[in-house]
Amino acid sequence: MSAISIRSLHKTYGNVEVLKGIDLDVADGEFVVFVGRSGCGKSTLLRCIAGLETISDGSISIGGEEVTRRPPSKRGIAMVFQSYALYPHLTVRDNLGFSLNLARQPKAQIAQRVARVAGILRIEDLLDRRPAQLSGGQRQRVAIGRAIVREPEAFLFDEPLSNLDADLRVQMRHELMQLHEELSATMIYVTHDQVEAMTMADKIVVLNAGRIEQVGTPLELYSRPRNLFVATFIGSPRMNIVTASAARQAGLSVGAAAERIGIRPEHIAIGPAGSGQFNGTVGLTEHLGADSYYFVELDDGTRVNVRRSDNVMLSRGERVGLAPNPGYLHQFAADGARLD
């Protein structure tokens, strides 16, 4: 039982409040991803859960026990750092066994647990090396191994893949997901990488300026963003936003309270000028192979991004008509909240 529950958590540094009343429940065995822009407080929240930061107000429970005032090592959690934070003067074996040594476990048991973890992560051959002799991916494995060896109730990951190159990142992402399945432990993962968040998470927590904007499954967040921030933050390329008045003028059916209308690039049909509700001129284009993205400047000056998955090429300066799919319009009120 390793559910994590956070109640009205506040964190201030001097006069600056970086976390403004966080309420969050993470179920046992869940993979939860914190996303948000730099400085939104996602890493601070993770460090508060870890116990590396004291909280100003509120409470944290792990596995049903209140741990708010407990030191990090007494919370039953392990953390993997962005910089790996391996002990440079110790071999991989001693890095893995560090926590067990501190806990004065019998030597034979330490050796056995280190060997088991090394087996899981396929780093048996590296046990006598020092961190400086390892590649980035190997260091990452050792850092994860150091977390696993403690057999914690929950794992915390602070942007663990951001120092790896693209190929390795994909590989490690898959390995982490596999690891989550094997250990079925609770995991909280901080990232600013959309793809990591969408592909790994059971549940995504979107943070903005110290507050939780929305909690939900990746698809929930994508298809029913609760407000304008989540709408434009989740999804790459981002959702197009036009004013409700422009939408009404174009003849779209839009609620009376709506101020902004959002529509994702894949939900707009592009055709010859006059064929849709909006007319515009093709500007920048991005051809990714399977898909092409066209940045169309509408006649009122708004820029709209449209995805096309066929092989028809549009050229810059071409006049086109855009027809948003009315079933996929997102309507937002003046304060940014979703309507409907």
Binding site: M79, P88, S99, A132, R146
Partner: protein, 283 residues
């Protein structure tokens, strides 16, 4: 992994040139030491000869006199006690202070750091008189504790600054990882950061040792016959009206004074392995 420029093999010509330069530098640095060693073993007539003499009948008379008939050993022991105590106290206090300044930034950190280093801006001679008066009025003249206290006070500021730099060069996340693994904050510093900055700590200790052994001003003013360290006791072998300068004895004294520092540095060399923290963080 690619070889760095410094590990690339040299051309034969380059090897000869580099070797030649190294031999010259070794001679330049080593000759005075060799000369002191020879002087300590020469009979007086060979020492006082107008032309340099390299071949002579070696004698241990100077060593004998310094070690067994003069008070030098007592002063030497004083110096070693003062230096060892100073190094021990300074290293503990400065390391903990540096840790606090490096790892717990607070609003006054900058002011505190500046206050600490400003203690070294004042020339020591400015406080000789007040310190002498204080020591005299509390009955602490000519005592080892007084010289230890003075040397500690004068060595702490720069040591804090040096060690703070070493600590700031290490990753805080590694300490945090150790805390997550079950260490206390101070335990994490001791188990994880100190091993990384070990070479820096050793060089700071050597620096404090040399400064303390060389300290002359307070040693000469605050010590009498009892607590006198060798820096103030060199006068033992300086010229007097009757016997003249005792060059042989002075050479023996010089060797003995240099010895602990040389041994310390030789031992330390093993630990000055560069890049112990390379690869600990990031890729």
């Amino acid at each position: 992994m690619s070889a760095s420029p410094s590990t690339r093999p040299l051309h034969p010509g380059q090897r000869v040139a580099v070797g030649g330069i190294l031999v010259l530098m070794t001679l330049f640095a080593g000759f005075p030491l060799l000369w002191v060693l020879l002087t300590s073993l020469k009979p007086n007539n060979a020492i006082l000869s107008k032309d340099p003499i390299f071949l002579f009948q070696p004698t241990l008379e100077h060593w004998e006199r310094v070690l067994f008939t003069s008070d030098f050993l007592k002063f030497y022991l004083n110096s070693l006690i003062i230096a060892a105590a100073t190094v021990a106290i300074v290293m503990v206090v400065a390391t903990l202070a540096a840790y606090a300044l490096a790892r717990y930034p607070m609003r006054a950190s900058k002011d505190i750091s500046f206050f600490i280093i400003s203690q070294r801006m004042m020339p020591p001679v400015a406080v000789v008189l007040p310190i002498f008066l204080i020591a005299s009025s509390i009955g602490m003249l000519d005592r080892l504790e007084t010289l230890i206290a003075i040397n500690v006070a004068f060595n702490i500021p720069l040591s804090i600054w040096m060690i703070r730099g070493f600590i700031e060069g290490t990753s805080r996340e590694i300490e945090e990882a150790a805390v997550m693994d079950g260490a206390s904050w101070l335990g994490a510093f001791w188990r994880v950061t100190v091993p990384q900055i070990w070479p820096g700590l050793l060089s700071t200790a050597l620096f404090v040792y040399i400064y303390t052994v060389n300290e002359f001003l307070f040693a000469s003013i605050l010590s009498g016959t009892n607590a006198r360290p060798v820096s103030a006791a060199v006068a033992l072998f300086l010229p007097t009206g009757v016997r003249g300068t005792l060059f042989g004895e002075a050479a023996v004294a010089a060797i003995l004074i240099m010895l602990p520092g040389i041994i310390f540095a030789a031992l330390m060399q093993r630990h000055l392995v560069a890049g112990v923290s390379l690869g600990a963080v990031k890729g």
